[in-house]
Symmetry: C2
Subunit: 198 residues, 2 copies
């Protein structure tokens, strides 16, 4: 099987913040792929607190130096919750700004390497969840337009009996290890992800 380097780019949910196992969903789905004998090298480029605008500024340089002429390169993005988060009563980025940044990131990414988008997750804050759900729907539409496969984390996790409760054990935003394991489980069951690494 091909050697593959995958850059996982995004926010604290990519970096696996608050996971006592220090794996996040990224580490779990890659360990699962390696246990299926795939020679995959993950690079975790999640940064806590970043919005889509901040990710747009830095992802390309970081991803480029992690490619290798000898190995297949792939990109997986996840962001959105920080955009929809209110800081001092003000939403950090309006949906239209988020979608413009997402379009810039994903169209450049997809023109360069095979790319997947993992949508932002729900959490323990109902008002923010409504904003994240709406942004997730708009991101799904954008991805359909661009041809980038989209995984709807919000839909997959909002009904989970473990995910939102796991965020309430932390800060009502981030899951704990059990929540990351649940998120990894649903992504690992996504046929598009498995088409990369059967």
């Amino acid at each position: 099987m091909a050697q593959m380097r995958i850059c996982f780019i995004g926010d604290s949910f990519v970096s696996g913040a608050f996971d006592d196992e220090c794996l996040g969903w990224v580490g779990r789905i890659c360990a699962s792929a390696r246990h299926r004998k795939h020679d995959v090298s993950p690079y975790n480029l999640g940064v806590r607190g970043e919005t889509s605008l901040q990710i747009a500024r830095r992802w390309r340089a970081e991803a480029e130096i992690r490619q290798s002429a000898q190995q297949e390169g792939r990109l997986v993005f996840e962001f959105g919750v920080n955009d929809a988060r209110e800081v001092n009563g003000k939403r950090q980025m309006e949906a239209a700004q988020s979608l413009a940044a997402a379009r810039e990131i994903l169209s450049a990414a997809f023109a360069w390497k095979p790319t997947l988008m993992i949508g932002p997750p729900p959490g323990g804050d109902a008002a923010r969840n409504a904003r994240v759900k709406e942004l997730s729907h708009a991101m799904a539409d954008l991805c359909a337009l661009l041809g980038v496969p989209y995984f709807d984390s919000f839909a997959a996790l909002v009904a989970s009996p473990t995910f939102i409760p796991s965020t309430k054990a932390v800060d009502s935003t981030h899951p704990n290890a059990a929540g990351y394991a649940e998120w990894a489980r649903v992504i690992d069951g996504w046929p598009t992800w498995r088409s990369w690494l059967p």
Copy 2:
């Protein structure tokens, strides 16, 4: 206890290449610290194949955007084996070049944030081991001069009954999960590391 963001910067041994658990020593020592109730956020900035010269070019920009005004920032480096590796019969970097790059990196790092240096490990190639051992000694001297604490991985692992055998199960360079666990165990027992995260 203080929240802490630690950037782990270096080569494939930092990124945890070939670890089927996708933790490496970085993930293991940070999971261990989190299980001791430390609120630590690791950022893994290891890149496969990089020499000290390549790391010198990119570490600062990547580490800077991962800092937070609200959280304590720390830096941990590991590199050297790629410098001492021969490619097509030619050593990639002579020891003097490696030490000049290491001096540039570590003096700038230490002037900015508390910094540790983890020395390069042994592997299954005796000729390369001799070069890595010599480089490790010179790095230890440089670190003593700069005031940067140095962990001698080579000395700690060369006598280990599991580490070098674990590299022979992979490519005679990288350990497998058991080898990374052994490396993590010896770093986790280093009093200087534990002074950061008791």
